[in-house]
């Protein structure tokens, strides 16, 4: 019976790793047996070797640094404006309507589509990329914050009023904290968009950063480096998302997560 299956595998941990192990083994075999030309399809061992040789750690850290800088810069600007705009729009309905209109119109345009015009306006430097990333972070965070404002439990506001709070103080002390869960969701979504957009922007127009590293490797025909770069990006994404989750859970939202048992 299903309920007893769990005690059949006393060590569930190794099951989790089995997936990776299987893939690595299959990968190595396929490449080693030359089913596909091994210069085009290198095995994991070659990738590892190349990683050590072709991309010195210093270079890698540089690339990561550039990419992270862009993501973080764009993200913070987008997040802060998103939250502020969202809260204002949600609290002051008239201003909200005015702000919402252009935002709703611009939102359907994916941030990627802004790349050409951003480059045109801001050049090939950092500002165009940060602008794109800002867009990627802003919309989901704004939308979620707004949603959070709309969905505030009216009883909370009533309780605040009874306790003597009104106006801005009510907003800051009751309404704003009440939207934290939604803002948190927006942040996670916005971060993953920002990350993907950074890579995209770097692929299209940059001379440093992880996206550039991959594109450049392709021009040089270093497929191992491409694969290496792809994996690094994946790991970095996972790691940063994990970090953000931990920060959110540990600090701002302990009260929320304790009750909902995440």
């Amino acid at each position: 019976m299903k309920e007893n299956r769990e005690d059949r595998f006393t060590n569930n941990l190794w099951l989790s790793w089995m997936g990776f192990i299987i893939i690595l083994i299959v990968w190595q075999i396929v490449s080693a047996t030359n089913l596909v030309d091994s210069s085009i399809f290198p095995g994991p061992i070659s990738v590892l070797k190349s990683a050590i040789i072709d991309v010195p750690i210093r270079r890698l850290i540089q690339h990561i640094g550039f990419s992270l800088f862009r993501v973080v810069a764009g993200f913070i600007i987008g997040a802060v404006t998103g939250v502020i705009f969202g809260i204002i729009s949600g609290w002051y309905k008239k201003i909200g309507n005015i702000l919402q209109a252009p935002i709703e119109l611009i939102r359907p345009i994916p941030p990627i589509a802004w790349i050409p015009i951003a480059i045109f306006w801001l050049g090939l430097g950092e500002s165009s990329k940060i602008f794109i990333i800002f867009l990627g972070a802003f919309f989901p965070i704004y939308t979620n914050t707004l949603k959070g404002m709309f969905n505030i439990n009216p009883e909370l506001l009533q309780a605040g009023r009874i306790l003597g709070l009104k106006g801005i103080r009510l907003l800051l002390k009751v309404a704003f904290p009440a939207t934290f869960p939604d803002i948190a969701t927006g942040i996670r979504v916005g971060w993953s968009y920002s990350f993907g957009l950074t890579v995209a922007a770097e692929l299209i127009a940059a001379d440093n950063g992880l996206g550039y590293m991959i594109m450049h490797a392709r021009e040089l025909g270093q497929i191992t480096v491409i694969i290496y770069g792809v994996i690094i990006i994946g790991l970095l994404n996972l790691f940063t998302d994990f970090l953000i989750q931990q920060i959110i859970i540990k600090r701002k939202l302990r009260w929320y997560y304790i009750t909902t048992n995440v």
């Binding site: 019976m1 309920e3 007893n4 005690d7 006393t10």
Partner: protein, 254 residues
């Protein structure tokens, strides 16, 4: 032994149920050495606190769970899996939201291979029995809680089971709806005479509905006491006799 089989439709024989979390000894004993019997067409209710294992007991009788020790016999044959002799009504109706009222009721017969015309006749009858004419083509989401449970009852009856298992079916309803559903249930039961095994934590509900009440204690679940309700139906919840039973059962639980 043979005589007992004939009289007792359901025999629960020293059933124990342990849930384990991985290692063999680290378990949670939900039921311990439960034994009781139920006669044909009896309305029996299992009463106890939340978490005393009464739902688990019902699931074992239904065949959805297997006992760790002991067995359940239905008309002499041991229960190993769900079957069409036992119908079940769940607390949250368990109605399939993607099927209409008709679709839900006809689900069981359709699986058995019943022809369309027969099915439709059957569902029409049952819908009439539970007083839901006009709702055939509605989806469960469009119905109130009480109506949903009525569909759930009709759906269970569509398999023509000998035994009807009901797991706190009125638990999610508001008090007023709950009370009207209780009378509804008695009416339906009286017209189609089945054995009913009912589970609830409401003592009053148990007294109102049942021929016999089995009180479970918790941690682990055990049979505390049994009560035979010797009052004529329909019963007055405020009557002295009922209140006497209430006090006794209340004491038995605590």
């Amino acid at each position: 032994m043979i005589c007992e089989d004939v009289k007792n439709e359901v025999i629960v024989d020293r059933v124990t149920k342990k849930f384990s979390k991985g290692k063999v000894d680290d378990g949670f004993e939900a039921l311990s050495n439960i034994s009781f019997t139920i006669e044909k067409n009896e309305f029996v209710t299992i009463v106890g606190r939340s978490g005393c294992g009464k739902s688990t007991m019902l699931n074992i009788i239904a065949g959805l769970l297997s006992p760790t020790e002991g067995k359940v016999l239905i008309n002499g044959k041991p229960v190993t899996e769900p079957g069409s002799d036992r119908g079940m009504v769940f607390q949250n109706s368990g109605l399939f939201p993607w099927l209409t009222v008709e679709g839900n009721i006809e689900f069981g017969p359709k699986n058995k291979g019943m022809a369309k015309i027969e099915r439709q006749k059957l569902s029409k009858e049952l819908i009439g029995l539970v007083n839901l004419e006009g709702c055939e083509k509605k989806y469960p989401r469009e119905l109130s809680g009480g109506m949903q449970q009525r569909v759930a009852i009709a759906r269970a009856l569509a398999m023509d089971p000998q035994i009807l298992l009901m797991d706190e079916p009125f638990g999610a309803l508001d008090q007023l709806t709950r009370e009207s559903m209780q009378s509804e249930l008695l009416r339906i039961w009286e017209s189609c005479k089945k054995t009913v095994i009912f589970v609830t934590h409401s003592i009053m509900e148990a007294i109102y509905l049942s021929d016999r009440i089995i009180v479970f204690s918790s941690n682990p679940g055990r049979v505390r006491k049994e009560f035979k309700i010797n009052i004529h139906r329909p019963r007055q919840k405020s009557s002295v006799n009922v209140m006497k039973y209430y006090e006794e059962i209340y004491e038995a639980i605590n």
